[in-house]
């Protein structure tokens, strides 16, 4: 047999299996969880994995008479891996859901497979607006950068901040954050005096910070990938920007609860807008935080909440379909679903399949010797404003 015809056969087999996959609904419901468990994004993966485990411990591993089985795969946040793993999960393991996705490129890489296989894809972390437009089978339980960036823009304009210098990492989420902030902040009468995009792999913030300092703004709007937030805050304090009265504002990713304590007192007073704080004062959250701390000996951050709500969404959808795993029925079941999450009340927008949630304005304060984002204002039921199709 020639190589060519072998390849044709193989392709045929793959297509055949893809078409059959959703129909093979027998015993267990399988969820393929694709997360970055190694590499620079590993903390995201670990948080989501922990949260999923926690939810299953609390709620049992059987829904609507069917056992839930999680298959965890590590893509190290490399989109090529994500695509390969998603394909293997759908074709070989015949999973009924794919879930996880630590970064935007990873979520986008798996989107065509979700469409082809008619498999619901639950995005538990990645935050660029366009993701849910890439497949009718994508539902998101994390957040979009537009949600928090527009809100902090509005808030800053209304709260006496007139001039802002921005420092954002030069990649898709950074640009999203910058654009949505700029749009709402300038519409509210604010002025952007300095706009700096720093390279993603940036060793030293010193020159950029010096530029910020010299432009004498009221506040610095900052978005850098989670791991770099600590470096930024340290150098911000080193350069004396805190003493010259320049505030730090931004979407809450920079002040991830996971890393906040390592940043030291330099982070005190930072005002960010975000969907979740470990210090969120609700009974549901207190219970969640206590259980998470007990099980994993660390604080849950917003990534953990995205995972916790993601697995909950899967459970609830299965309850609604009575354990049937038909992709279209599951997506229908998820649309418009509402519940009380540790982060507050949330729902799935029936039109965009994206999350609708409260966005909180928080300030970093010291509570019992630890740093927390303490919420002081709430914007209710914020939808994603970043969709290209209106």
């Amino acid at each position: 047999m020639s190589i060519r015809s072998q390849m044709l056969l193989a392709a045929g087999a793959v297509a055949g299996v893809l078409a059959l996959a959703p129909a093979s609904a027998q015993d267990a419901v399988k969820i393929g969880l694709i997360l970055p468990m190694t590499g620079g994004q590993a903390s995201t993966g670990k948080q989501i994995d922990n949260a999923v485990k926690l939810y299953m411990q609390q709620n049992g591993d059987t829904v609507a008479g069917r056992k839930i089985e999680i298959i965890l795969k590590d893509d190290a946040a490399v989109p090529d891996n994500t695509k390969r793993l998603a394909q293997e999960l759908i074709v070989n393991d015949k999973v009924n859901f794919i879930a996880g996705f630590g970064v935007t490129p990873a979520a986008l890489a798996a989107a065509p497979l979700a469409t082809q296989g008619k498999i619901p894809q639950i995005v538990m972390a990645a935050g660029t607006s366009i993701i849910t437009e890439r497949s009718p089978y994508i539902v998101r339980t994390s957040f979009t950068l537009a949600q928090s960036s527009t809100i902090i823009g509005d808030w800053a304009a209304k709260n006496g901040i007139k001039k802002v210098a921005t420092l954002t990492s030069d990649y898709a989420p950074g640009n999203d954050a910058l654009n949505f902030f700029r749009q709402n902040f300038t519409a509210g009468g604010g002025e952007i005096v300095e706009e700096v995009k720093v390279p993603l792999a940036n060793p030293d913030f010193a020159p950029f910070l010096q530029r910020m300092k010299d432009s004498k703004p009221d506040a610095v709007f900052v978005f850098v990938p989670a791991g770099q937030g600590g470096n930024f805050m340290k150098q911000y304090a080193e350069r004396g920007l805190d003493k010259s009265g320049i505030k730090v504002i931004g979407p809450g990713d920079v002040m991830d609860d996971d890393l906040l304590n390592g940043m030291g007192d330099a982070a005190l007073g930072t005002v960010t807008a975000h969907l979740y704080s470990t210090a969120h004062p609700s009974a549901a959250n207190k219970e969640f935080v206590a259980a998470y701390k007990k099980a994993f000996n660390s604080r849950p951050g917003f990534m953990a909440v995205g995972g916790y709500d993601g697995i909950r969404l899967i459970y609830e959808a299965l309850k609604k379909t009575g354990g049937k795993t038909d992709g279209d029925a599951l997506i229908e079941a998820m649309k418009g679903m509402k519940w009380e999450s540790p982060r507050g009340p949330i729902s799935i927008d029936p039109e965009t399949r994206d999350i609708v949630q409260n966005i909180y304005i928080r300030k970093v304060e010291k509570v019992d010797g630890e740093l927390y984002n303490v919420e002081f204002a709430t914007f209710e039921a914020v939808k994603d404003s970043g969709k290209t199709k209106k």
């Binding site: 190694t38 590499g39 620079g40 590993a42 903390s43 700096v196 995009k197 720093v198 390279p199 792999a201 940036n202 060793p203 030293d204 010193a206 020159p207 950029f208 010096q210 530029r211 010299d214 791991g227 770099q228 600590g230 470096n231 340290k234 150098q235 304090a237 080193e238 350069r239 004396g240 996971d258 890393l259 390592g262 030291g264």
Partner: protein, 289 residues
């Protein structure tokens, strides 16, 4: 005007840091003609040793710095004796493959042991913040880097040029056969030099945690900077890499300040221009090998 001096100061501090990190590589590559891409791994080791000692065991920062040097040097000498020396006579490709493999192994093992998130070293409060010197903002930590690295550079130059060990090393490099004929223990000299270079990298890693950030990907992220320093500086002495580090440090900081849109490219532009002008680097000797 004062901003200019602040930028210059930051640039010099950054350059000095690059020099301490990379000069070990200049020694192994230039003097011993061995391509060691795992150099960053030794720097990372030093950084993590310092971080664990300071954060977990409560050592003072200045006591942990020498330990960072010693531990990296020890690991260096063990690896040199057990692995590296077998590759001295092999082709550069073999050396590259070997050392890049070692780098990946170091990344994976540190990730496994220490976790993948970025860590910081708790600094004494005397080193934090900035003070004003005639209107020029001087960062305390950066000033310390300049002092330590400046002293090291002078000491290195003196050791190489004035001491018996320095002349032995230069002899061993120029003609190993003749040198061993004169009774110089060439392998021992090489092992010592290699360890010393690793130790310097370890010290650099500990010093750089505050400014560059320390995570398991350190060796891969900064490999390119080390190589730029060595190629631009030329690898025949340590004066070359020293000047190259300063030039790149100041160029990088000034570029990012004055033309932030082009910022990250400045360092590469400088490299390309210099290499077109002098293909062997600033102080390279014209292809003697």
């Amino acid at each position: 005007m004062t901003t200019l001096f602040t930028i210059l100061f930051d640039g010099v501090a950054y350059g000095m840091l690059l020099f301490v990190l990379a000069c070990g590589l200049a020694v192994t590559l230039g003097l011993m003609n061995f391509v060691n891409l795992a150099h960053g791994a030794f720097a990372m080791t030093g950084g993590y040793v310092c971080a664990v000692l300071v954060n977990n065991s409560g050592w003072p920062f200045f006591a942990a710095l020498p330990l960072a040097f010693v531990s990296s040097a020890l690991i260096g000498v063990v690896l040199e004796r057990s692995l590296y020396r077998h590759l001295y006579t092999r082709s550069h490709l073999d050396q590259v493959l070997f050392s890049i493999g070692l780098t990946f192994m170091s990344v994976a093992s540190v990730d496994y042991i220490m976790g993948s998130s970025r860590i910081f070293i708790k600094l004494p409060s005397a080193l934090e913040g900035q003070f004003d010197f005639f209107g020029v903002g001087i960062g305390r930590y950066r000033l310390m880097i300049i002092v330590i690295c400046g002293l090291l550079t002078v000491a290195l130059q003196l050791i190489l040029a004035k001491t018996r060990f320095g002349s032995r090393l230069r002899a061993a490099v120029d003609d190993p056969r003749a040198a061993s004929g004169l009774g110089i223990n060439v392998p021992q000299v090489f092992a010592f030099t290699f360890a010393f270079g690793c130790g310097l990298a370890g010290l650099g890693g500990a010093l750089s945690a505050e400014i560059l950030g320390l995570d398991p990907y350190f060796p891969l992220k900064f490999m390119i900077y080390f190589l730029i320093v060595v190629t631009v500086g030329g690898s025949s002495s340590i004066t070359g890499p020293f000047l190259a580090s300063l030039l790149l440090g100041i160029g990088d900081v000034a570029g990012k300040y004055y033309v932030p849109k082009l910022g990250p490219f400045v360092i590469y532009t400088i490299m390309i221009v210099i290499l077109i002008w002098r293909p062997n680097g600033l102080f390279g000797r014209a292809a003697t090998r």
